[in-house]
């Protein structure tokens, strides 16, 4: 009888923990996922011993599956990307026709940076993609954070496992580690600056480090941010890509 009672308590404790992690992710999602977001991005790409490269672009993301990026720095001006669901198209700077990029390339580097196409265009909720559990609490930049381990619910996903550090007060991710299925640490993201826009805390300066390559990291700064503005579906079309 005593054993059953203990088992019930353990089970109950586990259920309450599961609810807590779900609630945490829900709050993070509500803070960090948007109906739409539009911004100007400045990428500083740093590679081992090399002069840093600067690439600027405008990004428009709507819902979980529509994204449009246009590069505006002189070397790449006119290069555009359109993402609809798992599909990606590119229009080169001097081309008039759009070209489809194979879906498996979505996990590859975006214009030589440490972000993949998916990293910059993904807006799906964590609760939809991952199961989660709390594995501790740690301080990041003087902010107390939940440390959560997330494992993918589906097989076809870029990062089968994540560890995130979520600010306990603001419910934003301050640090995130991306793992392969084998458990290999692939990348680490750190939020360097957060801004409150339209009652949402938005990371406006992010460092993405490639843990598989020596001294390879990219800093993404976001400016001219507008969140949850109405954006026409016509933006996410070949009509716009080939313009």
């Amino acid at each position: 009888m005593k054993k059953i009672f203990i088992l019930i308590i353990i089970l109950f404790a586990k259920i309450s923990t599961a609810e807590t992690t779900e609630a945490i992710l829900k709050k993070i999602d509500s803070n960090m996922r948007y109906k739409s977001i539009k911004y100007t991005g400045i990428m500083e790409i740093n590679k081992h011993h090399r002069r840093k490269k600067i690439k600027t672009f405008t990004a428009i993301i709507k819902g979980t599956d529509k994204a449009f990026i246009e590069f505006i720095n002189p070397e790449d001006r006119g290069t555009k990307f359109l993402k609809l669901g798992d599909e990606l198209w590119i229009k080169g700077a001097f081309a008039e026709q759009a070209d489809k990029i194979s879906g498996h390339l979505l996990k590859n580097s975006l214009m030589g940076s440490d972000f993949s196409y998916e990293d910059t265009m993904e807006n799906e909720s964590l609760n939809t993609l991952y199961k989660s559990k709390i594995i501790g609490e740690e301080k990041i930049n003087n902010h107390m954070c939940y440390k959560l381990e997330l494992t993918a619910k589906k097989k076809k996903i870029s990062y089968p496992k994540l560890i995130i550090w979520a600010d306990k007060e603001k419910y934003i991710i301050l640090k995130e580690q991306f793992f392969a299925l084998s458990g290999l640490l692939l990348k680490e993201m750190s939020v360097l600056k957060v801004k409150k826009i339209n009652n949402k805390y938005i990371p406006v300066k992010i460092k993405m480090e490639n843990k598989q390559r020596k001294n390879s990291y990219t800093i993404l700064k976001m400016k001219n941010i507008s969140v949850n503005q109405k954006i026409s579906d016509r933006v996410f079309s070949k009509r716009n890509l080939e313009k």
């Binding site: 090399r50 026709q97 194979s102 498996h104 390339l105 070949k238 009509r239």
Partner: protein, 353 residues
Amino acid sequence: MRILNLFWGIILISSLNASVSFNGRFYHNDFIIIDEKKHFNITLLDFRFNVFPTDIIKIKSELEYKIMNAENKAAVYYNSDNIYLNLLYAVFYPDNSKIILGRFLPDWSKGKIFKPLDIFNYKSYFNRYLNNTGIDGFSGKFYLTDLSSIEFIYTYNIKVKNFGKYLYGDSAEETHSFTGLNFESHFFSFDNNYIYLKDIANGMNFIGTAIKGDLIIGIWGELLYGFNSDNTKKILSAAAGADYSFFKHYVLSIEYYYSENGYFDYNFYEYSMYSNNDTQTEKYFAGNIDYLLSDAGSIGAGIIYDIKNANFIFYPYIHYEVLQNFTADCSVYSFKTENISQYFLSLSVNIQY
């Protein structure tokens, strides 16, 4: 000279009250035939000038200076005029449409190496960094949905040898006027094109299709079928390919090409085979593996294999981004046939400004 005057005139007029941008590049490529100790090189300097008078009109142009030197003696590339107006066209964007008028470069092909539908803009895989001169004509594209469209095209200077020499025989060096349609649709995860082209003067007809999409791996294919007015001469060429990237740094691709376009044409895959076989059918296989470097660039190797004659070309290469606007390439081409074994070294630099 008239072309140059026209170019500068348009620049001057259109830039008076418009948003203007310009850029260009310097490109130099040295080829060394190792066994024969000979070399030749190509140098080009191009200048691209774009004017956007309003949100719905763009004027784009490309002027190029190109010169080839062979065995250290200056040699003229193609003809005595080394300045080319490659592009000069206006694009209009009425609602749901795109209209192009002038000298432009349409591209209906989806392949990487073998491109049966590269009709307007034939580009060899081995000189893909060189520019092509556009075709003069008109294109009107109407977008039916977000991912589908229909394009009408008229041009009066397609090089008919792009279709293969068999169909046109002695007139293969000529340029002809064409009208055509290109319907593009999208279903599942595939872009699909269906094309029709008609040679206005000679009554030749061409139908074709292209597909590109995903089935876990990336796949693409294209087919072109041509026939004369009394259906006594026919050509067929088809290509299919697939690629996949694994461990995020490797990209593997393969392609197969089948052609009944006629006699072996040195302008097509000219580097690949020293074929002594003039029969109509050609079959090639191509494979390529690319490793993305940690900094910027890639190293890789490719092979093009002539299945029928058992000839092949093997080419390891390195592509390196020295600076953000400065890339350098080095490759070795090894040709093997029954009678010939030859090596080329290719060194090139490309600087954007």
